[in-house]
Structures are given as structure tokens and as C-alpha cells.
Amino acid sequence: MLFNLFKFNGGVKPPTNKAQSLTLPIAQAPLPSRLVVPLHQSIGGTPKPVVQAGERVLKGQLIGEADGWISSAVHAPTSGMVVEVGMHMQPHPSGLDALCVVIEPDGHDEWIAREPLDYRTLPPEAVREHLQRAGVVGLGGAVFPTHGKLTASKTVPMQELVINGAECEPFITCDDLLMRERAEDVVRGIGIFRDLLQPQKVLIGIEDNKPEAIAAMQAAVAAVGEDFAVIAVPTRYPAGGAKQLIRVLTSKEVPASKRSTDLGVQCFNVATAYTAWRAIAHGEPVISRLVTVTGNVDTPRNYEVLIGTPMDELLALAGPQADTDGIVMGGPMMGFLVPDTTVPVVKATNCLIAHSPKLFPPKAPEMPCIRCGSCAQACPHELQPFEMYWHARSKNFGKTQEFHIFDCIECGCCSFVCPSRIPLVQYFRFAKSEIWAREREKKAADTAKDRFEFKQFREEREKAEKAEKLAKAAAAQAAKKAAEAAAAAAAEAGGADTGTSAPASTVDSEIDPKKAAIAAAMARAKAQREAAQPKNTEALTPEQQKEVAEIEARRQAGQPATAASEPPASGA
């Protein structure tokens, strides 16, 4: 089929380094000694643990329940004993801890009862819920809960469903092998997405450096009898970025301010489609994923790995060489050095690269930016990285936003080409996190301010109410008095007895102590005010005091006496 491809701007061509891990088929990684399964493995709410230490779990059993609509469930990767629900370090550059369920495998690998679904007979809502319960999230690395992306926009007709098999990062080959070996399951998974979203076309984009995967997918599409288009896209990083792939296949550009469904297009990774099919047709939740283990190892290879497997145990299978001094999770462009090699494999782990000084020589020192513009030329989002860098460096975060920092997809092309070797992406991540932190602070401050203002308002209202009450009471008193006076006058006129004047005097005496108390309080306040007047004339030397006294005297003499007197009390 002839297909019109579009270009995205920028991009780079780093050495791909993919051949090393492509020589062997996918292998099943053996059961590790223990599994540390983080509960928070998707964007959105943190799942709530539903198991306790000491409990036995089966393979595929729910251990973390989705918390909210954008959240995704987590399951036990194998049968065994829960030994702990506690905080463990995460595979994240920050090295922060998060709540994990630690399971000691019992070696039986005993499944829960799996229930295949015939999703075609179910309403779409039920299918989405099932995917959420099965923990299906985007396995391309962004781990966005898949069910959340399976609703078309109400106003824009769904035109294209884009399936991402581009896998453009160097070193990573897990999607390539998945498509080669399990193409049919992938295609059936895409069928589920298609049925839920009802797009006009389904486009599967694969970089043209994976001819075997393209052939396998084409064969599978034919075998399943679908009309999906399998399209080879040019090999250029980051062709596998969702937005770039959408651009290449549909010419649509999704800016940061829009959702792709607003443009009638949605994008999923091939591995996500695969797990969706397994979850629905086989009742298997996401408890494992394919991971490329490569880099400074003897036998680079792809493994099917249980989520929660400690990275060092997985790496050991591939035979890390002696000078290995760390593990990079993800590719060399967007990946990061994990803070500790024992952190677990999670749903976002697509690749582990054994790090060695030879493989990743330390970067030459950073030089000043010379505004050469190479970064802007390489940026696939057509941003001006050096401007964002400049403002991020000077902590002028508002300006970084004016230069659209939130459109940056952190692909690393700019850092890759910078002749001054400036780690631009790091500056952008810093700026973004700083902006988020400030937003949070501002929000907190705003709520505090609102609370304070409300309190003030309430106090004022109460005061006003009190004053009103008092005024009413006083008016009533006055009216009463007037009435009494009138009555007395009438009585006098009528020559009645004089006893009626007594209540009036009691009222007066009732008010008087109040007045006195108020006057006393005002006097006290005034005294306090005077006491609190700042005095910068304390602790002066006698000469200075004399001088001050002289100045005072001159002033007194030169001015009318009133100016020196007490300022008039304000109307408080």
C-alpha cells in the first residue's frame, strides 16, 4: 500500500546499538529470590494495598486496588508469601521510597482462577473497567492507565488509531522481539482498542530498521483478517515519541495544551496492546513485561521478567562484565542511572543497560552556550532550548514557560547535539519541577489566604451583627424612654403618682457601667499604644541625648505648639 508519510522537524541519529540484543529469542527470566512490587506503577492515584504481611497470595492475585479513575491495579507476580508491605527505594532518579508489597515466591507459581472474557458481548464501560482491574498501562514508558485513553472525544470523530512499534531509542529491542514473536496477540489487542474507539483507520508505525518485525506484523494482520496498515517509518530519533509518530503518520501535531483525541487520534504502544489482549482473552493481569538487558554484558538479550524482580538479579542472567558500575533504566537518550542496582523492575522498565565507564565515557565538561542554535534545529518540538536553558539557569521560570517549556518532551535531542555539552534536559526537568513546586505552594498559600480572609470576614460580620444588636437595643431603650417620658408627662398632666420614673433611672444605671468599661478599655488601649511607640532614642550617650533635646527644643520653639501635641486619636 502506498502511504503518504510526513516529516517531523529536528531529531537526531544516534548509533542504534540494537543488533547486540537481537541475536537470541525472548527468554523467561527465572523466579527471583523475592519480589518487591511497588503499588504506584502508573500515572494517577496510588493503589491501596489489599494484602498484609503474612498472607499467602497466588499468581495474578490483586494486591493493590486502583484508587480513582486515573489509577491502575497491581497484582502478585507469582504465588508466595507477603513478607512485608513497606517503603522501598524506587527506580527513579530521585531514589525516593514508595510503598511496596514484598513477596517471597514459594516456587509453585500457582495462578488464581483466570477468567477469559468475550469482550465483544460487554459494554465498552465494562471492558475499560476490566483493563483497569488487570493493571493495563502504557508500556512504552509513560505508564498512563490504558483504560483512561479508550474513550473517544464526544465532539471530534475518531479518525486514526496509531500503534507505536517504532522503538526509536538506541539499545532497546523488547518491542521488536515482541512483534517478531507474538505478533498475533499484538494484533488482537489492537483489535480491542479499535472496537472501543471506532477509528476510521488503524496505523501501525514501525521504524524501518526492524524489517523482521514489520514482516511479522504484516503477516499477523493478514492472518487475523484485519485491515490495519503496517507502515515503515524512517529511523530517526525520536520517531517513537507518540507525538512524533502521530505527526509522521497523520500529519497532525498534538501540542501540550491538547489531548490527542481532540484531534481525532489516539496512540498506544504495541506492548500495551499485547497485555490488553492477554488480560481480556486469557484473564492474565499485567504481572510481567519484556525487558532488554544489554550494554556491558556478555550476552545481551530480551527477557520476560516478573514485575518486582530486583534489577541486579536480572542483570546477573546476562553476565555483566567486571567493570560494570551501574544500571541505566531506559535508553541512553531518555533513561537514567538507577540510584541502586537492587531496585525492582516495574511496568515502565523496558530496558536495562549495564553501565561502564567505557560504554558511557564521562562527558567532557560543560561549556557556556554560544547560541549556535543547533539545539533548536534538533528539537522535534521546534522549541528554543537555549532560551529555556538561559532562563532556567537564571531561575526565571516564568520566561521558560513563555518559551513553552511544557511542550518539551524531554527527548534529549538538544543535549545530544549541543557542542558545549550542556545537559539541557536536566535544566528543563529542574525548571519543570520547580514550577510545579511553586504552583503547589501557591495553591497552599491561596487556600490559607482564603481561609484567613473568610475568618476575617466572619469576625467582621459578627462584629457588625453585635453592633447592630446593640444599636437596636439602644434604639429600643430610647423609644421606651421616650414613651415613658411621654407617659410620665401624660401622668403628670393627669396628676397621677410619680413612681413611674424609677425604671428609667435603673436603665441609665445599667448602661453607665458599660460606658465606663468601654472608656476604661479605650484608655488602656491608648496607654498600650503609647508604650509600644518605637523609641530610637534609647541607649544613647549623654552627648547624643543632649543633642536630641536641643533639637527638640528648637523644633518646639520654631513651630506652633499644636504640632508637637499628641496626634488626634483615630476614630477606632
Binding site: 501535531e253 561549556m367 547560541r371
Partner: protein, 320 residues
């Protein structure tokens, strides 16, 4: 940066061959003083010497100074100019990447304002001084006689047009002693070599095509318009493009990334502006050539141009 120096080599070779080897001495003097000044400033700012000296930016500045100053200028002029460029125009603004003005052009402007006589003494072509005699002139060991120097082709044309009542361009150009095929004798070859070096830089991707093209179009089209309007009063665009520092300016000076524009549209505006200003200054202004002031004036506008020419980003194009 070293690639930029490489691209200058053909022009330099022709220059040395046609105008005498004194230029090589000046290049050496400028390079040495630039590196010394750079080292001194880096030391004062506690920056790693080797790293920054190795980037070649000081060398490019030095070479541009040497190539824009008269080759027989006294040695101290080039030393002072280079030191000024590196110390004041570059480092006092914060060093590499922070200078708002092209350091070499700042040096040129300062020197031509301070020492106008020395800065306009160009050797008459065909004045065959031996290497030793040239050295003596540069180092002040021989008397600096006026016969040594003639005005540049550009200058001769300008003064000629100003002086004569009935002279026209064609008449002046017929004076084959100083003029060649279509521009200054010898100079047309040297500028041609700069053009080749510049094209090589474009082809290597060291500079983009925007600035040189816009510069040439700006200078050339203004020259063409006036030439068509009155060929007796105004020289042809070819003459202007191959005279003075036009090609050096188009490919090596106006393309300085630090002090120039960075957005593609900004580069076009910057280049065209520099070309137009260069023509105006060189034809109507008081200086023999206008490249330096044109570039400096455009440096002044660069931040604003950049701000106003931000390209639309991914996904924002059809919104106005």
C-alpha cells in the same frame, strides 16, 4: 571554531601572496595576544585554562582582527586591538557566549575611531616590499612613508567620485592600476577565496545559509538598485560584493552566533540588515568600509529581532 579558521585559509594564502607576507606576522601577533589575553582573563576568573583556550573562539576573533586591520599597521595596533576585543568586548561582558557585540568588530570600530590614519593605510598593490622590509615597517624600524600605502579600491572610488566634477564610475574603474576585472585588483580574488571558504562552512553545516544569503542579497540588491538608477554615480553590485570585507562579513563576521540572531527568520533579518547598513555606510558614510559598524548596529538589534521572530512551535502552527 577551528573549522572556521580552516575555512579562512585559502583567503589568507591569496592575501599573503598578493599583498605580501606581513599578514602572516599580523596573524601571529593577533593569535598570540588573543591567547595571552584569554589566558589572563580565565585565570582572573578562575576558569579552567585548557578547556576554554581549546575552544578556538579567541583564535577566530584574533584572525578576524588581523584580516580586517591593514597588514602594514604597526605591531602595537593589532596587539591593542586584539587585547581590547578579548578583555573588554568579550570577558568583561561575562566571557564566552555572553558578549552582545562581535568582539573583533568592536576592536575594529574602536581602533578606526582612535587611530583613523593608521587604520586606513593599506599597502598599495604591486608595492613589492621584501619580507624584511615589511617586517621593518610593522615593527616600526623603518619610516612609515605615505608612498607605502594607497587607499583601498572602495576608498579610491568614493574620494574620486567626491572630488571630480565630471568623473564617473566607469572612468575611475578604467584606472587599471588599482582595479581589476570588476572590483579591486587582487581583492576580488581574495574575497572570492573567502566566498569559497564560507560556502564550505555552509556545506559542513558549521553555519547556516540564512545570514550569508541575506547579507549578500541585502548588500547586492541595494547596490543593484542604485547602480541601475545611476550607473555613473554608483558602482555595480558585483564591485560591492567583491570589495572590502563583504564576503568576510557575510560568512565569517555576521554569522557569529553569540552576538547574532538565532531564529531562522531572525537570521534573515539580521543578515539583510547588516548588508544594507554596510552598503549605506560604505557609500554614504565617512568610513572606508561599513561592515564593522553594520554588524555592530545589527548586534544591537539582535535580541529584539530574536524576540519578535520566535518560530511557532510543534502543534501551534495554524494558530495566528
Amino acid at each position: 571554531m577551528t573549522q572556521v579558521c580552516l575555512a579562512l585559509l585559502p583567503g589568507i594564502a591569496l592575501y599573503a601572496w598578493l599583498l605580501g607576507p606581513a599578514i602572516l606576522i599580523q596573524l601571529l601577533l593577533a593569535s598570540a595576544s588573543a591567547l595571552a589575553a584569554e589566558a589572563l582573563m580565565l585565570k582572573l576568573m578562575h576558569k579552567p585554562l585548557g578547556l576554554f583556550l581549546g575552544d578556538g573562539s579567541a583564535l577566530v576573533t584574533a584572525w578576524l582582527i588581523a584580516l580586517t586591520f591593514p597588514p602594514l599597521a604597526p605591531w602595537w595596533l593589532i596587539v591593542v586591538g586584539t587585547a581590547f576585543a578579548v578583555i573588554i568586548a568579550k570577558h568583561l561582558y561575562g566571557g564566552l557566549g555572553q558578549n552582545p557585540f562581535n568582539p573583533a568588530m568592536v576592536a575594529f570600530a574602536v581602533c578606526i575611531v582612535s587611530f583613523p590614519a593608521l587604520m586606513s593605510q593599506w599597502p598599495a598593490l604591486g608595492l613589492h616590499l621584501s619580507f624584511g622590509e615589511q617586517l621593518q615597517v610593522v615593527f616600526g624600524l623603518a619610516p612609515r612613508i605615505d608612498a607605502l600605502s594607497g587607499a583601498t579600491p572602495l576608498d579610491t572610488l568614493k574620494t574620486g567620485l567626491k572630488l571630480g566634477e565630471n568623473v564617473d564610475v566607469a572612468q575611475l574603474l578604467a584606472n587599471q592600476e588599482i582595479y581589476g576585472q570588476f572590483a579591486g585588483r587582487g581583492w576580488e580574488l581574495i574575497t572570492g577565496a573567502y566566498l569559497l571558504g564560507g560556502l564550505w562552512l555552509c556545506w559542513r553545516g558549521i553555519i547556516t545559509w540564512h545570514v550569508p544569503t541575506a547579507f549578500i542579497v541585502g548588500l547586492g540588491s541595494l547596490a543593484a538598485a542604485l547602480w541601475l538608477y545611476n550607473p555613473a554615480q554608483f558602482a555595480s553590485p558585483l564591485f560591492h560584493l567583491f570589495s572590502g570585507g563583504a564576503m568576510l562579513g557575510a560568512f565569517f563576521i555576521a554569522t557569529d552566533p553569540v552576538s547574532g540572531c538565532t531564529t531562522p527568520r531572525g537570521k534573515l533579518i539580521f543578515g539583510a540588515g547588516a548588508g544594507i547598513l554596510a552598503y549605506l555606510i560604505r557609500v554614504f558614510g565617512g568610513y572606508p568600509d561599513g561592515i564593522a559598524f553594520a554588524v555592530l548596529l545589527m548586534n544591537l538589534c539582535a535580541p529584539v529581532i530574536d524576540l519578535l521572530t520566535q518560530p511557532a512551535i510543534f502543534g501551534m502552527k495554524d494558530k495566528s
